[in-house]
């Protein structure tokens, strides 16, 4: 069994509006047989945090186009994207690209 994982989630660029406007969430992912990866985290967020309109956040098993995912201040593309295995105290940011000025 993998131990529970405490992580820090952040939403920005408007993505926070899907989560009642709350930008920062400290969450603990429960203990499970497999280690937690990003793919499972997205499912967990949908079930536990997302208030409405999941299509504005996820598409298929990944995030929708236009949302950038950062793991510990780096583009998740550098970290293995959906396969990245979450570590205790990781910081995961979901940022919607802005289109204004």
């Amino acid at each position: 069994m993998a131990a529970p994982v405490a992580i820090h989630l952040e939403f920005g660029g408007g993505a926070e509006l899907l989560f009642n406007g709350v930008k920062e969430h400290h969450v603990t992912l429960p203990s499970q047989s497999e280690p937690w990866d990003m793919k499972q985290l997205l499912v967990w967020i949908q079930r536990n945090l997302l208030k409405e309109r999941p299509e504005l956040f996820v598409q298929g098993d990944s995030v929708r186009p236009g949302i950038l995912v950062l793991i510990n201040d780096a583009d998740w593309e550098l970290m293995g994207e959906l396969d990245y295995q979450l570590q205790d105290q990781d910081n995961v940011v979901f940022i919607s690209t802005l289109h204004g000025g």
Partner: protein
């Protein structure tokens, strides 16, 4: 010695200043970001500035588009910005372009800026892809920033082997997920800060110091007064425009690629049939005849505080969608009162209004689902074009925001 204070900086020095004076920059968009960007580049002694914008100056621009003044309302933004820049520094060659950038004119325009520095800010998604591709195809760096509400973002694309916009966003976002300033609002100083930031990066690139934002996303959170720098993915070998086997080798149709229009103007939804909608003129005659009805304003409270019609009941669209019990109860009470007043008619009319007539249509759809089950049966219609149509056609004293 106009530039003496910056010449003293070893980071710039005489050579850097000379490089600056030989640099041409095309600024795409003379709004909240483009204004401070143009202002600081001109003040610093850039050689040539192209100022491009298809739009005219409006009163609601002035809180952030600080090169334009009250007397410039109705003028082309490109011209107004060019005049302001010339007043500031007459040695800068300044070329206004009052036109919309398109697949037809973009390459030709961007290639006229041979010193290879295109600095831009772009509102809408199709124009972002258009400018990105044009910059990749003509090998220019793209200093790109955006600002909305209380946040800003900045990245330099296609710079020193770094990623382009498509490397990061190969697929455009669904149009309904994109919010612009006239929908989402923006605090003027936020694009001001981001535009100044763009000017800084352009000056660093142009003078020869180089930018460190080539594979970085800088995020600014105005609420927490915090800047963060994020390391981005490198240039993607599979990128459609800058990769090893590009499929985009000339400019394409970006509006159809993105499924949205290349202006920052609001999209118009068409969710309802004609008999579910009335015009502002229809609603005026309903008011004039004092026909019993309920006017439901579904805008967020912050907008209702700016202006509203008398006698309207405010329940934001989000509360309807979430079926907030206190709001549904309030709505039901008003329907019951109306029914008593109308004695006999069992489907009292409800007219839904919002700013532009998009949310009101969504609200009509929600209310039709609720009608006869969660609340008493009602006849519900939206008012086409919303309060802005009311201000334009019925009551010119009603604030347009």
């Amino acid at each position: 010695m106009r530039y003496s204070r910056q010449l003293l900086l070893p980071d710039l020095s005489v050579q850097g200043q000379l490089n600056l004076s030989k640099t041409s920059v095309l600024i795409i968009g003379c709004g909240g970001l483009g204004c401070p960007l143009a202002q600081y580049l001109a003040a610093a002694g850039i050689g040539r500035l192209g100022l491009l914008d298809y739009d005219e100056v409006e009163l609601s621009n002035l809180h952030r588009q600080v090169l334009h003044g009250e007397e410039n309302q109705g003028q082309a933004k490109a011209l107004s910005a060019a005049n302001a820049v010339r007043r500031l520094n007459s040695t800068v060659e300044c070329i206004p372009y009052h036109l919309q950038l398109s697949s037809e004119n973009a390459l030709q325009l961007i290639q006229q800026y041979p010193a290879a520095k295109s600095s831009t800010y772009i509102y809408n998604v199709p124009t972002r892809y258009l400018v990105n591709d044009a910059c990749v195809l003509s090998s220019k760096p793209l200093v790109s920033a955006s600002a909305l509400r209380m946040e800003g973002q900045l990245t330099v694309y296609n710079y020193r082997g770094g990623p382009c916009y498509r490397c990061l966003y190969p697929v455009p976002p669904p149009p309904e997920t994109v919010t612009n300033c006239s929908d989402g609002g923006v605090l003027g100083v936020v694009p001001g800060i981001m535009g100044c930031f763009q000017a800084l990066e352009v000056i660093k690139i142009a003078s020869g110091q180089g930018s460190s934002c080539g594979q970085q996303l800088v995020m600014f959170d105005a609420q927490d007064a915090r800047f963060r720098s994020i390391k981005l993915r490198p240039k993607q070998t599979g990128c459609a425009v800058c990769g090893e086997n590009p499929s985009v080798t000339k400019l394409v149709d970006y509006e159809s690629f993105c499924g949205s229009a290349a202006t920052d103007k609001c999209r118009k939804l068409n969710l309802l049939s004609r008999d579910q909608r009335i015009t502002v003129q229809d609603y005026q005659s309903i008011m004039d005849k004092a026909e019993p009805h309920l006017l439901l304003d579904v805008r967020p409270l912050v907008e209702v505080d700016i202006c509203h019609l008398p006698f309207s009941l405010n329940i934001p669209l989000s509360s309807l969608e979430e079926r907030k019990s206190e709001h549904i109860q309030l709505f039901q009470e008003r329907i019951s009162q109306l029914k008593q007043q109308m004695a006999g008619d069992c489907r009292p009319p409800v007219y839904v209004i919002c700013k532009l007539g998009n949310d009101s249509q969504k609200a009509v759809q929600v209310l039709e689902k609720m009608s006869g089950s969660e609340v008493d049966s009602i006849t519900v219609k939206d008012i086409c074009g919303g309060l802005m149509a009311w201000a334009k056609r019925i009551d010119p004293t009603f604030p347009q925001y």
